[in-house]
């Protein structure tokens, strides 16, 4: 596919102009006639019995149209584990629990009404750390599971593990073994567009909901169940996705506020919109999970890895979201980043009375790549091998099958590491307090199977004007899916990308898709689009057998009038016209076996009209295809299964300077090298790489949701710091390695998440190289660096005094 017209060339994304003009409509901008504004009353305790809820004052406020609680609405269970409720009854388990909600004619009245709701609580002792939650006799966050069986522990019943080889033997045989404990923090996705939805029911009880979701079809299933709970079984639920101001994983679950909007719309018979403000977004939306990790890795005398042992504990918070399946992705780096023959993995999740957590970009991968790659540098030091060299000696290669059973088809890890080292001038002399570090990544590159179908469908619809409308059920949330999809369709059908329009995502018109996660959007959509395009071409070419000769001869007639001297070449048109000898190029249909005469090319729109307008044989072309990637649903307890059709690799490197007086870390420059399979649109690809890396920098150095006894202490951008343009004032060098993956559309792999996976350990390793201190807890704040520097000075002073 080297002769691509559009693929591989930088091109502005199709939605860019409207966004630049301020014309794009987000949930914030949607208005429906008669629309009410919903507002949620959140818990004021982390763990408490609900004694009484008095809504009478709120109900009397003029402008209020409904006040609902769990006591006057049907129970709606939500969440992947069915352990959560749209509205809470009997007890609250976290500060943000939804105890009541209001619908009013404007947002101010709704807010006032929420303040008028009185809730009486009886506080209960809570559990706020892993140790508290796992202690004997700890208060239980949930007394019963979703089926009503009594629970005796706060540990979730989900089990994730992996055992391969013989760890004990391998550990004993290792020349060097290094152990360590690492932790990561709660991170907020910090989408610039806050969460919200708009729910509306028609007179038959069919629901339309505009939602900030990445899983329109799984959400449709969830909301359909809610309709059943509301006494509306068998009604249609239509999920529509407007433009989204970022999602980064927040759209992988359905949320209580969405069900509350549905309940309020049902109660009032009016459209209801709920829109979180920034404080609500920080305090009441699930952040990325924190993790505590114990790790040990060993190598032989030559630096070949002998074993890896990883134990993870995660504070799940009060309820289960898909975030509770982070360990499914942790398995990738744990078992398969570098060649390591003996692996042991175990992950446990624990309920606490902290805010419950959910997915974010990278989905468990950064949480374990952080310890693996930090610890690997420690191992390199123990073995007196250069960290880059150690990594190269253990580099993954195409054709290998990893302990998890991942079948590595293409793998550009070696090239990524080499590019990173080269661009960082690895091994060069540096100024004092400057250092370099690197870290690598593996991630799913061909979707990630965590559901029984991991596929997605595309419908192509051609109109009389040669326009092609594309329907795909996945979600554009800013990442550039629509750019990749429109370029793919244009390439496959030989038309200009501006002839291709991507329809809004709507479960009512788009074919099923499992959701836009696991960096799968472009991989699945473009593969499905290529299959659909193949079908469309077959239909067009079959019909062209009949209509093409007539159109070409009309062309010839006209051409001869315009060019009286023209002599048409002798050529048997009838013999050349065969369905399998047509081609689409430059918006025209041509015959491969015909001379390149201008009249032997027919514009696609004209051809489509001729196919359409032919009496009873007329047809309009539509084609659809469903693409299911070749992968297996792993056995999570055993941690085995080839979960993706291909795997993405990458490496990042950082050069940093550490101020030993303040503990401040200044990034001098960074390199990100990614095995992307094939570059579809260099501009949007670079956007994903830069943006991912920047979130990685935030994760490494700045971002942390702080809590005290379950209460979130920093619900604002002032107190929760995401990188601004000032923090990002160092050069970032990007390098894209093309490995032409056989499973990928044009050879491309998924690229959405890898950008932030290895950033933190690359920076931490550079800090160690610069000043010799290793930080094991993210984020790496100046205070932590200073403390570590002080400890190191104290230790070396102690050493000096104790040495005679």
């Amino acid at each position: 596919m080297s002769d691509c017209r559009h693929i591989g060339k930088a091109r502005p994304r199709p939605d860019a102009a409207d966004k630049a003009a301020g014309r794009t409509l987000y949930i914030n901008d949607l208005i429906r006639p008669g629309m009410l504004h919903g507002k949620v009353k959140f818990s004021e305790h982390a763990h408490a019995r609900i004694v009484r809820i008095d809504t009478s004052r709120a109900e009397r406020l003029p402008g209020v149209r409904a006040v609902v609680t769990a006591y006057d609405t049907p129970e709606i269970r939500i969440g992947f584990l069915n352990d959560n409720f749209a509205l809470k009854r009997d007890k609250v388990r976290q500060f943000r629990d939804e105890v009541a909600a209001v619908a009013a004619i404007d947002p101010d009245i709704a807010a006032e009404a929420v303040d008028l709701i009185d809730v009486e609580y009886e506080p209960l002792p809570g559990v706020f750390t892993l140790d508290e939650a796992m202690a004997q006799g700890a208060p239980l966050v949930h007394e019963m599971d979703a089926r009503g069986n009594p629970l005796t522990t706060n540990e979730l019943s989900l089990r994730y593990g992996h055992e391969s080889g013989d760890l004990a033997v391998a550990e004993r045989a290792s020349a060097h073994v290094v152990e360590g404990r690492f932790s990561t923090q709660l991170m907020q996705q910090s989408c610039l567009g806050t969460a919200g939805c708009l729910a509306e029911l028609d007179m038959s009880g069919n629901l339309s909901i505009w939602a900030r979701t990445q899983i329109p079809f799984l959400a449709q299933r969830d909301f359909t169940q809610a309709l059943r709970a509301l006494g509306l079984p068998g009604r249609n639920c239509r999920v529509i996705v407007p433009a989204l101001g970022g999602t980064f994983g927040t759209g992988l679950d359905t949320h209580a506020y969405e069900y509350i909007a549905i309940v309020l719309a049902h109660r009032t018979n009016r459209p209801v919109k709920i829109l979180y403000n920034r404080e609500e977004e920080f305090a009441n939306l699930s952040p990325r999970q924190s993790a505590e990790v114990e790790i040990a890795q060993g190598c032989d005398r030559e630096g070949r890895l002998t074993f890896r042992r990883v134990r993870v504990r995660q504070d799940n918070g009060a309820y289960g979201s898909w975030g509770a399946t982070f360990p499914t992705v942790m398995l990738l780096p744990v078992t398969s980043l570098y060649r390591v023959p003996n692996v042991s993995f175990d992950a446990r999740l624990v309920y606490t009375n902290n805010t419950y957590c959910q997915a974010m970009r990278g989905y468990g991968n950064p949480e374990v790549t952080w310890p693996i790659e930090s610890n690997l540098d420690e191992l390199a030091e123990a073995a007196s091998i250069d960290p880059f060299e150690l990594r190269m000696r253990n580099c993954n290669e195409p054709g290998e099958t990893t302990p998890m059973g991942l079948q590595v088809t293409t793998c550009g890890l070696k090239e990524c590491m080499e590019a990173t080292a080269a661009k960082l001038d690895w091994g060069a002399e540096r100024r004092a307090r400057r250092g370099v570090g690197m870290a690598s990544l593996i991630h799913v590159g061909g979707s990630g199977r965590i559901y029984r179908s991991d596929g997605g469908g595309v419908i192509l619809k051609f109109d009389d004007f040669g326009q092609i409308n594309v329907s795909y059920g996945g979600v554009e949330m800013g990442q550039g899916l629509h750019s990749a999809l429109s370029l793919t369709v244009a390439e496959a059908l030989g038309v200009s990308p501006d002839k291709v329009t991507i329809n809004p995502t709507d479960t009512g018109t788009c074919p099923w898709d499992v959701g836009t996660h696991a960096s799968r959007g472009a991989f699945i959509a473009c593969n499905a689009a290529l299959a659909a395009a193949e079908k469309a071409r077959a239909q067009i070419f079959a019909a062209a057998e009949e209509v093409f000769p007539r159109l070409a001869l009309q062309n010839l007639e006209r051409y001869c009038v315009q060019h009286p001297d023209y002599r048409a070449p002798t050529f048997d048109l009838a013999a050349a016209v065969k369905a399998d000898r047509f081609e689409l190029a430059d918006g025209q249909i041509v015959l491969r076996d015909a001379p390149a005469e201008p009249w032997l090319k027919v514009d696609l729109d004209r051809l489509l009209r001729a196919i359409h307008f032919r009496g009873s044989r007329g047809e309009v072309i539509t084609a659809s295809a469903f693409y299911e990637p070749q992968s297996d649903l792993p056995d999570w307890q055993k941690g085995v299964g080839n979960m993706s059709a291909t795997y993405a690799y990458g490496a990042q490197g950082a050069e940093v300077e550490v101020d030993e007086e303040t503990g401040e870390v200044r990034i001098v420059r960074m390199v990100a090298a990614h095995d992307v399979g094939k570059v579809l649109n260099p501009q949007t690809l670079a956007g994903q790489a830069y943006g991912g890396l920047t979130q990685g920098v935030g994760y490494a150095l700045y971002e942390e949701i702080l809590t005290e006894q379950g209460r979130i202490l920093n619900p604002s951008f002032t107190d929760y710091k995401i990188p601004t343009i000032r923090e990002m004032s160092f050069p970032v060098h990007l390098e894209f390695i093309e490995t032409d993956d056989p499973a990928g559309p044009f050879g491309a792999k998924g690229v959405g998440e890898p950008g932030l996976v290895p950033t933190a350990p690359a920076i931490a390793n550079a800090i160690y190289d610069a000043v010799g201190v290793r930080i094991r807890d993210l984020p790496i704040t100046p205070e932590k660096v200073l403390r570590a520097l002080d400890a190191r000075r104290a230790a070396s002073a102690g050493k000096q005094t104790s040495t005679p």
């Binding site: 630049a20 610039l192 567009g193 101001g245 403000n277 800013g478 956007g687 951008f717 004032s729």
Partner: protein, 165 residues
Amino acid sequence: MSRECTLDVNGSLTTLQVAPSARLIDVLRDNLGLTGTKEGCGNGECGSCTVLLEGRPVNACLLIALEVEGRAITTIEGLLGPGGKLSPVQQAFVEAGGIQCGFCTPGMIMSATALLEANPAPTDAEIRDALVGNLCRCTGYTQIIESVRAAAVRLGTGDRPEAPR
């Protein structure tokens, strides 16, 4: 309790009734239908609501509408040229890839427009200073800086004191 007020937005005067406490952002979005101005925080922290007040970038979420009565306000919609053409700055953001989810984009473009008006050939450091109040969660800012550089070139000030890296 609402008061009559005449706002000068994008070169047109509109007289409307607004509450004394009404924020400029709400009046722009809800009363005038200018939804291109985005609310990312409502607190002066993110810059997504940036509009120009007599050419200077301000946070519309922090301003009371009555207080800017009669003063020239420009929103993202007001940047479009004749025939609805994107302004050079808008066009540069489109072409240089400075846009992903687009939620920060109107505010970014307003800040960049004000910068280039005051300083037609800014250095990268000056671009950073001008955009430090505009948060973006998607792009990592690199392509935003490239967009502003490209806009400076488009505006006919190609000579730049600092070479692009």
